[in-house]
């Protein structure tokens, strides 16, 4: 099978924070079924911190594991800290990803950032 690290396999098998926050403060969606991966992050913000982060992912094993890890990394962080979570941070946290799956590691942070930006946008216009 495609060689995933133990950590990736563990998150794939037992993903954390699966779901959709019904009255989310921010929503971020990236990808589409054509390219094979699609992620939706929903967040709940309290006192400038990510009180809750949930994801839905349509995608391969790496995409699911990445979503789970990003949601864990982001939870309880301030918005500024969470926005600083880079693709590189995710990749490091994952321990390793096969070369042809590296693009998945980008999607997770992208979706999270989009959700935060969505929240900030709404705040601004509120």
């Amino acid at each position: 099978m495609t060689k995933y690290s133990d950590k990736v396999m563990e998150h794939f098998s037992n993903p954390r924070n699966v779901g959709e926050i019904p009255d989310a403060d921010g929503v971020g969606e990236v990808g589409n079924p054509v390219c094979g991966d699609m992620m939706k992050f929903t967040i709940k913000v309290k006192d400038n911190r990510l009180e809750d982060v949930k994801f839905l992912t349509f995608g391969c094993g790496a995409a699911i594991a990445v979503s789970s890890i990003v949601s864990e990394m982001a939870k309880e962080k301030t918005l500024e800290e969470a926005l600083k979570i880079s693709n590189k941070d995710v990749a490091e946290e994952l321990e390793s990803l096969p070369k042809n799956k590296m693009h998945c590691s980008n999607l997770g942070a992208d979706a999270l950032h989009k959700a935060i930006e969505d929240y900030l946008q709404k705040e601004k216009s509120a």
Binding site: M1, D37, F58
Partner: protein, 399 residues
């Protein structure tokens, strides 16, 4: 842990009797069939017998077979060798959109060399329409290559009708029967094909064995030139054990054809029925009737293939998928695209190819595991959650 292979199209174990037939040719009768002394006798005889056995499977004359090391080699030889032999007559080739890459890629190369290639479309079942072939044929058309059965969606082509059209127009007709040989009765006379590719490893023979049937009188230039093995049509010392194994596998496939077909189709049908009963939103791909007996291809809506495959793998169930993420080239299957499957359904596609070790008892376990996995993945699928909320996305399919 259980281990249920449902991906025998990717590889199958060499049949026990086949391996036994091969064994004496590694160390005992190891000679070179072309030798001028006695050490060549048994190997040469064994190759001749194997040739007869493979010919019998196809209704061909033994001399019409050229042994190769793979189906890919046979396809390359048929196309490049056929194009080179007939290029003075014309430089147009016709094929279908759902051929194996060992047909499509040599054709891309021929295009660079000045040939023009027509890629016939297929219908939603994956069938080529003989009338469309007829329209595409021109006096310049020297070669038509359309596979006998597709290894992915299992659809069987109306080869006899297609070959007839080609013949009427004066073109050579090649069919890639790699996925079909051993699982569908074949007779090159009845089919009317000029060139036919098959491989031993697909019919429980060894890897490294393939052949190109080349009708007497049809000229192709060799791909591998050198010694005069295979009457100068394919150089290199004969891989005697592989050829012997291929022959024995062909004999067994020929003898047990009906029984194998019934057994495999029986398990396949029960797998299909139970899956469609247990799981919602499945989509059958390929032709409902005109398909390989050991092939089942479906799409699990709202989820992605690699994730399905990984969960099944962890449960000891081995399948494959035409999804982007399971392809090493990171491209979704061109076959699924050609039958007009939506990208979403292509991503959720699963290919089951049944084989010798499958039994009816495998079915309930597989069904239960695929059901569990599907539920788990749908729970986290944004597409499924959207469908639950909005009821859309379920019927945006063409069929």
């Amino acid at each position: 842990m259980k281990s249920i292979n449902l991906d025998y199209g990717a590889a199958a174990p060499v049949d026990r009797a086949v391996l036994e037939a091969m064994m004496p040719y590694f160390r005992e009768h190891y000679g070179n069939p072309s030798s001028g002394h006695d050490l060549g006798d048994k190997p040469a005889e064994a190759v001749a017998q194997a040739r007869e056995k493979v010919a019998a499977l196809l209704g061909a004359n033994p001399e019409e077979l050229i042994f190769t090391a793979s189906a890919s080699e046979a396809n390359n030889m048929a196309l490049k060798g056929g194009a080179a032999a007939y290029k003075k007559k014309g430089r147009h080739i016709i094929t279908s959109a759902i051929e194996h890459f060992s047909v499509l890629n040599p054709l891309r190369t021929l295009e660079k060399e000045g040939f023009s290639v027509t890629y016939l479309p297929v219908d939603h079942f994956g069938r080529v329409d003989p009338a469309q072939l007829e329209e595409a044929l021109t006096p310049e058309t020297v070669l038509v290559s359309i596979m006998l059965a597709n290894p992915e969606i299992g659809t069987i082509q109306p080869i006899k009708e297609l070959a007839e059209r080609a013949k009427e127009s004066g073109a050579i007709f090649h069919t890639d029967a790699t996925a079909a040989a051993g699982f569908v009765p074949l007779d090159v006379g009845e089919l009317g094909v000029d060139l036919l590719t098959l491989a031993g490893d697909q019919l429980y023979g060894p890897k490294g064995s393939g052949a190109l049937f080349t009708r007497r009188g049809v000229r192709i230039l060799p791909l591998i030139e050198g010694g005069i093995q295979e009457k100068g049509r394919r150089a290199g010392i004969e891989n005697v054990p592989a050829i012997v194994g291929f022959g024995e596998a062909a004999r067994l496939a020929h003898e047990n054809m009906a029984e194998r077909m019934n057994r495999l189709a029986g398990i396949r049908d029960s797998l299909k029925e139970q899956l469609f009963t247990a799981i919602d939103h499945l989509h059958l791909n390929g032709h409902p009737g005109q398909r390989l007996p050991h092939n089942l291809h479906l799409s699990v809506k709202f989820v992605e293939g690699e994730a399905l495959l990984m969960h099944l793998n962890n449960a000891g169930i081995y399948v494959s998928s035409g999804s982007t993420c399971t392809s090493q080239a990171l491209k979704a299957s061109h076959v699924l695209e050609a039958i007009g499957l939506s990208p979403e359904l292509a991503q959720g596609s699963l290919l089951f190819t049944l084989g010798p070790e499958n039994t009816p008892e495998d079915v309930p376990y597989v069904v239960q595991r695929l059901k569990d996995t599907t539920e788990k993945l749908r729970k986290m699928s944004p597409l499924y959650q959207k469908y639950l909320k909005e009821g859309v996305g379920s019927n945006d399919q063409i069929q």
